[in-house]
């Protein structure tokens, strides 16, 4: 299994797109930090990057990569290797490669320019979000056989998590404006890893604004050690559950 992981990892790291993604992240991070006059504004631009570009690139790249290596997977399956270890090494390879490129692309500039709690939280959330979207991509590919359809599903999922879900939340907020919605809102965020990551970063970034009444409820929940642990646990669930589902499907799949 380690051999397969090593092979996949090297294959991905050699891939031009991952290289381009790393350089792109690096270029953007350095630009935002050196262009903006305050580090805070640089971090803000970086937040948009993490919430927008990182999930998109991760989910699309992973989907395409898995489809393209279908022949390689079939080759491996003809060997006496468990399906489980093939699929997991595929996941580990993808997740570690993309995390490494995120760490190089965004982590290094953050540590150079702003190694505060906000910056470190941002890097941590970026890595978690990267892995979560790899895991979601694996579920999407295993569910659909057709490559074009699979990529379409991946894009729809990205759109859902980054835009549609929040739109629905906003809609609910205004529909049920007469009810106390603070507690249900906390529950709702668990259904979107991007929201969770964003709130964890906000708690470090906009702490004054979050001190208002409703903000204080969020802070009381997420800002404590327990809340932090719980959110990271939920994010880990977001990594594990799609992966497990995809693994089950892959084990039974007729290739």
């Amino acid at each position: 299994m380690i051999k397969i992981v090593k092979y996949i990892l090297l294959d991905i790291l050699r891939n031009k797109i991952v290289l381009a993604y790393t350089l792109f992240l690096l270029a953007i991070s350095f630009t935002v930090f050196s262009l903006e006059d305050s580090v805070q504004k640089g971090l803000l631009s970086l937040l948009n990057l993490i919430l927008f570009i990182v999930p998109l690139v991760n989910i699309i790249f992973s989907t395409i990569y898995i489809y393209n290596s279908s022949e390689f997977i079939e080759l491996l399956l003809s060997q006496p290797i468990k399906r489980r270890s093939i699929w997991l090494s595929l996941f580990i390879g993808l997740a570690s490669a993309l995390s490494i490129s995120f760490l190089i692309g965004a982590g290094i500039p953050v540590i150079l320019y702003c190694s505060s709690a906000t910056g470190l939280m941002m890097v941590l959330m970026g890595v978690l979000i990267s892995i979560i979207f790899v895991s979601i991509a694996m579920l999407a590919t295993v569910k659909t056989r057709d490559k074009a359809k699979g990529i379409g599903v991946a894009i729809m999922l990205w759109l859902y998590f980054s835009l549609v879900f929040d739109g629905l939340v906003l809609f609910l907020l205004f529909q049920f404006a007469d009810y106390p919605l603070e507690q249900p809102m906390i529950g709702l965020t668990a259904f979107n890893p991007l929201d969770l990551g964003r709130i964890m970063i906000l708690l470090k970034m906009d702490v004054s604004a979050l001190m208002g009444y409703t903000g204080a409820i969020f802070k009381d929940f997420f800002g404590t050690q327990k809340g932090l642990a719980l959110s990271i646990f939920v994010m880990l669930l977001w990594i594990c559950l799609p992966l497990l589902f995809s693994l089950r499907k892959f084990n039974r799949k007729d290739l």
Binding site: D37, S38, L47, F174, D206, S208, L210, M211, G212
Partner: protein, 412 residues
């Protein structure tokens, strides 16, 4: 001629000094209680009190005398009495430590209370665990200077205000430090007074509470981490210069809450890390120049009920929202401010941006209407909404804008 006048004057002075005597009070002296000392002293005499603890019950000073404490002698109220009551003009009370006054919900006991008097000086005292700290009712021209007030009550009802002035005129509140009281400094019906260089921190309610007090100035004070910040209400001709409002956190906490204020100046103040820097309601004719709003949740919350408020040459840096409002009516002027969120350009290089800046973001209007929406802050959908709102304003007030935004921050 001059020489004669000089000699006459000095004779006069000497004769006055000659009339006064000094009374010493101390455990080793002939007079061991301050009450005795006050009884023995004549008008304009000086009483010097040596260090030690004095249980005087309620010390009433009803003569114009000077009371000087050496090494802060302790006046203990035993939680039953008002330690010091001043009922004479021209009293000087300096260098004592006053503690443990009575607590009551019927009588306003003060650590030191001045009753209807003029020109009293309270200076360099330490007050600990008093109900009200220094209480002046119906006084004129008193100086309260360099005192250090601390209270440790846990409940608002159990605690009075640090420096409480009611129906006074020409008061000087200078360089006091107040912690843990209900309101740090409280002004009601106080006119022509100055509050200067005080530090008011960690009070339960307001750092400074200001009601029906006209023509007052407060300058160079620090208000930090108070339960609800500073409230200035129902007054006119108030001048607020060079104060520092910091870390007043909470839903109803404001750097300054301005309610029904008119003809006032807010100049050179710094607002840092407050939930809201300034909240203005029903105010008119206020000029705000050279203030710095930094790292606040809301820099300025200005309600539509305000009129003729001028904001000029202020810095808005690192606030989550620069300006929030609750309606579309704008009768105020924003001009020549620096906004760090400004994205315009300056073609003619006159250091003034060529396109107006709209400090109210769409999302701040959404949050104003629906506070739990705060959970969506900085998500992609709200960023998109803000951007589209900037191109075609629909929800945000069209007239709330700075037509001359500065390109560089001001040195404040």
């Amino acid at each position: 001629m001059k020489a004669i006048i000089l000699i006459l004057c000095s004779c006069l002075c000497l004769s006055i000094i000659a009339q006064c005597t000094t009374v010493r009070v101390g455990k080793q002296q002939a007079i061991t209680t301050i009450t005795d000392g006050v009884m023995k002293a004549g008008n304009n005499d000086t009483i010097i009190v040596e260090s030690g603890t004095y249980h005087e019950k309620n010390l009433v000073i009803a003569k114009p005398i000077v009371l000087l404490g050496i090494n802060h002698p302790v006046l203990d109220g035993d939680h039953k009495y008002e330690p010091v009551s001043i009922k004479a003009d021209n009293v000087v009370f300096d260098g004592f430590k006053v503690c443990n006054s009575a607590i009551s919900s019927i009588v306003d006991y003060g650590g030191i209370k001045i009753y209807n008097r003029r020109y009293v000086t309270i200076s360099n005292n330490i007050l600990e665990d008093c109900f009200f700290g220094i209480y002046s009712q119906n006084c004129q021209g008193c100086i309260i200077k360099g005192n250090k007030l601390t209270a440790r009550q846990a409940q608002e009802q159990q605690s009075g205000n640090g420096i409480h002035c009611w129906k006074c005129d020409s008061m000087q509140i200078i360089a006091n430090t107040i912690t843990g009281h209900r309101d740090g400094i409280y002004f009601e019906f106080v006119t022509n007074s100055i509050i200067w260089r005080n530090i008011s921190t960690k009070n339960m309610r307001y750092g400074l509470h200001f009601m029906f007090s006209n023509s007052d100035t407060y300058a160079a004070n620090v208000f930090e981490n108070n339960g609800a910040g500073v409230a200035v209400m129902f007054s006119h001709h108030v001048k607020m210069f060079h104060n520092y409002f910091k870390e007043n956190w909470g839903d109803a906490a404001y750097g300054i809450l301005l309610k029904e204020i008119s003809d006032s100046y807010i100049d050179g103040n710094k607002f840092e890390k407050n939930t809201s820097g300034i909240f203005i309601e029903g105010a008119s004719r206020i000029e705000m120049y050279n203030n710095s709003f930094k790292d606040n949740g809301w820099g300025l919350k200005i309600q539509a009920s305000c009129m003729d408020i001028v904001l000029k040459n202020n810095n808005f840096i690192g606030n989550t929202f620069d300006v929030g409002t609750n309606g579309s009516l704008v009768l105020n002027t924003f001009t020549h401010n620096y906004w760090d969120k400004y994205e315009g350009y300056d073609l003619n290089r006159d250091k003034i941006g060529d396109v107006p800046y709209r400090p109210v973001s769409m999302f701040s209007m959404v949050v104003e209407k629906n506070p739990p929406a705060m959970i969506l802050f900085r998500s992609l959908i709200t960023v998109l909404m803000d951007k589209s709102e900037k191109v075609i304003p629909s929800l945000t007030p069209e007239n709330l804008r700075d037509d001359h935004p500065l390109m560089k921050p001001l040195q404040l």
